[in-house]
């Protein structure tokens, strides 16, 4: 119960002020397209030079927590996922916003974030030693199978047909091979200097999600002079609470998936939201409503991506190994004050470590309060006329892509992928599986190569990739996931007539 003992330290005037600053600043940075949590935390590092270690960490921890949640704002209102963690939020969240339920979607997302986030931090407090072993359990072969599991999700994720989903996923996997490969340094498909570093995920996300929408808005503006005015429905916060509690399955699956995946070094944050979305879709009684502005989709995705925040710090705090890019930046923030994280961190610097964790707990609650306030204001975005909205989104898209590494190359990548995606969407492809391919490609490839190098030097490929309970478990889940997709495809095809397909196509365009 050490964490209760140090709880008071969070509420000293300076510490609490920094916590507020980090939370509000984090929400704003998170809502800005292109500024991922990692970048937001890296931007704050220089400010922590001047602060006490404890204060610096409070600022960084609060910013980390709230940037992840803040990403939902642009995902829901503008359909620009601020970071890979928010991809799944766009699927139902933005659809809700276009139906005038933006306020509701934002309220749900912040409440779900807080529930997931608090659960994740409590897990960090109580189960860190156990979880540290779990974080180490995933070697190259397991990460490879995990990435393959992610690929199987592609088929069932937000797509009218499994085949088109898989095709989009393959395009994503191909895009992922562009650039120097991570291990051997071989050059692949570098047809222009701006892609020599590979396709950066953030500009790709912005392009794939925002640009098709901008083009659609511009074309609509031209065909009909009186742009449709969406009435923004007010949504009392009380109802949002009821809704979140009513959707127990989605909340439960989101939180659990987020915490488990968040623990795995190097994979976690990026796919937690998507996997949780897919799982709760499979378990939901109303799975056909997913993708049409269904509240469960938002709740599952957002509870997952905030639940992963706490567990993602486990490898850092116990083993001194940063499990994610954001954790690496936090490590820098610790080292600069001469604090080495490790198993004795809580013994040597209890005040720093516990106050940091406590501030993340309080930060979740503050984030939720400010988020709910923002939800009321931000939902008015839907009232903006299409032409203005399109211009704003386009401006933010260019700014966001450029700011990732001050490079026009990323802007070109964003623009070309976006235009390409516009045409793909007209043929019924969707962006989410494509992005998932882009994210999973390098993970699967690098771990397969590493695994096979180790295997060839030791036990051989067969026994390296196919023995051990964790490998078996993952392979079983992969098989289950594939057979579920096939079964769904066959079952649905029985009822899908040509008329249904035509109606679906029309609804899409």
């Amino acid at each position: 119960m050490d964490f209760l003992f140090y709880m008071g330290d969070v509420f000293t005037p300076i510490n609490f002020g920094l916590l507020l600053l980090g939370t509000i600043g984090g929400l704003i940075l998170g809502a800005t397209p292109g500024l991922s949590p990692t970048m937001a935390v890296a931007l704050l590092i220089p400010f922590t030079f001047q602060l006490e270690p404890q204060q610096g960490l409070i600022l960084l921890g609060a910013a980390y927590t709230s940037t992840v949640a803040g990403g939902a704002v642009s995902a829901i209102l503008l359909k620009i996922p601020g970071a890979p963690a928010n991809i799944a939020t766009t699927l139902d969240g933005h659809t809700m916003a276009t139906k005038g339920e933006g306020a509701k979607a934002l309220q749900l997302s912040f409440l779900a974030s807080a529930v997931g986030g608090l659960f994740g931090v409590f897990l960090l407090i109580f189960l860190t030693p156990v979880l540290a072993q779990w974080a180490l359990a995933f070697g190259p072969s397991h990460l490879f199978w995990l990435a393959i599991l992610g690929v199987t999700v592609i088929g069932t994720l937000d797509s009218s047909s499994v085949v088109k989903g898989l095709l989009a996923g393959c395009i994503g996997l191909w895009l992922a091979t562009i650039g120097f490969d991570d291990i051997m340094g071989a050059q692949r498909f570098i047809f222009h200097p701006s892609v020599s570093g590979g396709i950066n995920v953030i500009p790709a996300l912005i392009g794939l999600f925002a640009i098709p929408q901008v083009i659609t808005m511009f074309t609509k503006g031209r065909s009909s002079d009186d742009a449709e005015i969406i009435s923004v429905k007010r949504h009392p916060i009380r109802l949002a609470f009821v809704e979140v509690l009513r959707r127990k399955t989605a909340l439960f699956i989101g939180t659990i998936t987020g915490t488990i995946i968040g623990l795995i070094p190097g994979v976690g944050g990026q796919i937690a939201g998507l996997v949780a979305y897919d799982q709760s879709k499979k378990f939901s009684r109303e799975s056909e409503k997913f993708g049409t502005g269904h509240s469960e989709g938002v709740i599952a995705a957002e509870s997952a991506n905030n639940a992963m925040v706490g567990p993602s710090l486990v490898p850092l705090l116990t083993l001194s190994i940063p499990g994610s890019p954001t954790a690496a930046v936090l490590l820098g923030g610790l080292l600069i004050h001469g604090i080495f994280p490790g198993p004795d961190l809580f013994m040597n610097y209890p005040q720093v470590a516990w106050t940091f964790i406590d501030s993340m707990l309080i930060g979740q609650i503050l984030m939720c309060i400010f988020g709910l306030y923002i939800a009321g204001l931000a939902a008015r975005v839907a009232r903006v006329p299409h032409a203005v909205m399109a211009a704003v989104v386009l401006g933010l898209a260019v700014f966001g892509s450029y700011s990732v590494q001050n490079s026009m190359g990323d802007v070109y990548v964003m623009a070309s992928l976006g235009v390409g995606m516009y045409f793909l969407e007209r043929f019924g492809f969707s962006a989410a599986p494509l992005v998932l391919g882009l994210i999973l490609g390098p993970i699967a490839e690098a771990n397969f190569i590493q695994g096979s190098m180790i295997a060839n030097a030791t036990v051989g490929m067969g026994s390296y990739f196919f023995t051990g309970w964790l490998n078996w478990l993952l392979i079983l889940i992969v098989l289950a996931s594939v057979s579920y997709s096939i079964w769904m495809e066959v079952a649905q095809r029985r009822y899908t007539t040509k008329d249904d397909a035509v109606a679906k196509e029309e609804a899409m365009s």
């Binding site: 990692t38 970048m39 890296a42 590092i45 220089p46 030079f49 180490l136 359990a137 070697g139 190259p140 650039g179 120097f180 490969d181 991570d182 291990i183 051997m184 340094g185 050059q187 200097p193 020599s196 570093g197 590979g198 070094p265 190097g266 490898p315 083993l319 001194s320 190994i321 940063p322 890019p325 954001t326 954790a327 690496a328 930046v329 936090l330 490590l331 820098g332 080292l335 600069i336 004050h337 001469g338 080495f340 994280p341 490790g342 198993p343 004795d344 590494q405 001050n406 490079s407 390098p442 690098a446 771990n447 590493q450 190098m453 180790i454 060839n456 030097a457 030791t458």
Partner: protein
């Protein structure tokens, strides 16, 4: 009207005149950018941020240095950009990592070599060390080599990638001990390579001294040897490779410093070469680096030019056999 334009033109000329005549005496006039070719949070990024934090002081450059990360392909992406696209006006600096960029230029497929960059000063030297898990049966390099002799090509050990300091150290060890080893480059850099050692995925690993020092303090690894000419102040008890009977020099030591692109005006280079080493000597910088477990080695421009040339020769010979 024509007179007015002529007047305006004259006035403009008068305004820009002094600046031109002045040359680069007033450099720097605006904030400077420094490119780091590794991601935020990595050792190079972390150290670059510390050593440049006093740049804005009046006794230093008087202008802040902002860090810009361009990670990818073991540094190739950033250095390629720096050699081909960065403006040589003194407002674009970069951090270098030797032997990484020299080894990559020898390997080929990149558009830079030592001739494309002008060194300014060196701030750090992070030797490679050999680590094994805390519960490993190996207690010295002799144990490791004995195992490798019994199982040729079966000793798996991790490192941060190909053609970086760790890889060079691995090649040197293979050559000096006369054994075949299985070097497993990690895609997640030094941190990923360290994780592989702690989790027992590999039998050992080459890693940065600064990271290994922390991991040892946390009780996760044993450090068996240092790939350097002398023992390190952070690890006085760990013998060098040479002490353990392997003829290995300091070719794999990760030197970090500041450089500019070729073609930067000589006045600017001179000014930077004079001021930048004094920034590294700043007391606050030194204490932060010490606290972070990052060994410093301050070298002037002339010393770095010499060091680059020496590395070029050593690495060409070592990599010729590949």
């Amino acid at each position: 009207m024509r007179k007015w334009i002529a007047g305006a033109a004259l006035a403009l000329a008068a305004m820009t005149g002094p600046a031109l005549a002045d040359g680069h005496a007033s450099y720097p006039e605006r904030p400077i950018m420094m490119m780091v070719s590794y991601g935020a949070g990595g050792a190079t990024d972390f150290q670059a941020r510390i050593v440049t934090m006093t740049a804005g002081n009046e006794d230093a450059l008087g202008m802040p240095i902002a860090i810009l990360n361009r990670p990818g392909a073991g540094g190739r992406v950033g250095w390629n950009w720096f050699a081909t696209e960065a403006e040589a006006d003194g407002y674009t600096l970069a951090a270098y990592n030797v032997p990484h960029f020299i080894a990559q230029s020898i390997e080929g497929g990149v558009s830079y070599s030592t001739d494309d960059f002008e060194p300014i000063a060196n701030w750090g030297a992070d030797p490679a060390v050999f680590v094994v898990g805390a519960d490993s049966e190996f207690d010295s390099m002799a144990d490791v080599v004995a195992y490798a002799k019994e199982n040729p090509g079966g000793l798996t050990f991790s490192g941060a990638g190909l053609f970086v300091g760790h890889h060079i150290a691995a090649l040197q060890l293979e050559k000096a001990a006369g054994v075949k080893l299985a070097y497993i480059p990690n895609n997640a850099g030094g941190a990923g390579a360290m994780r592989a050692v702690i989790a027992g995925e590999v039998l050992g690993g080459v890693n940065n001294l600064s990271d290994a020092f922390r991991a040892q303090a946390a009780g996760n690894v044993k450090i068996l040897g240092v790939f350097d000419l002398e023992r390190n102040a952070f690890l006085p008890d760990v013998p060098t490779m040479k002490e353990q009977g392997f003829d290995i020099d300091n070719a794999s030591v990760n030197f970090r410093g500041v450089m500019v692109p070729k073609g930067t005006p000589q006045e600017v280079i001179d000014r930077l070469a004079e001021v930048v080493p004094t920034m590294f000597e700043n007391k606050r910088v030194q204490s932060r680096m010490e606290a972070g477990g990052s060994p410093m080695a301050i070298m002037t421009r002339d010393e770095v030019i010499e060091m680059w040339a020496a590395r070029q020769a050593t690495l060409e010979e070592l990599l010729a056999g590949l």
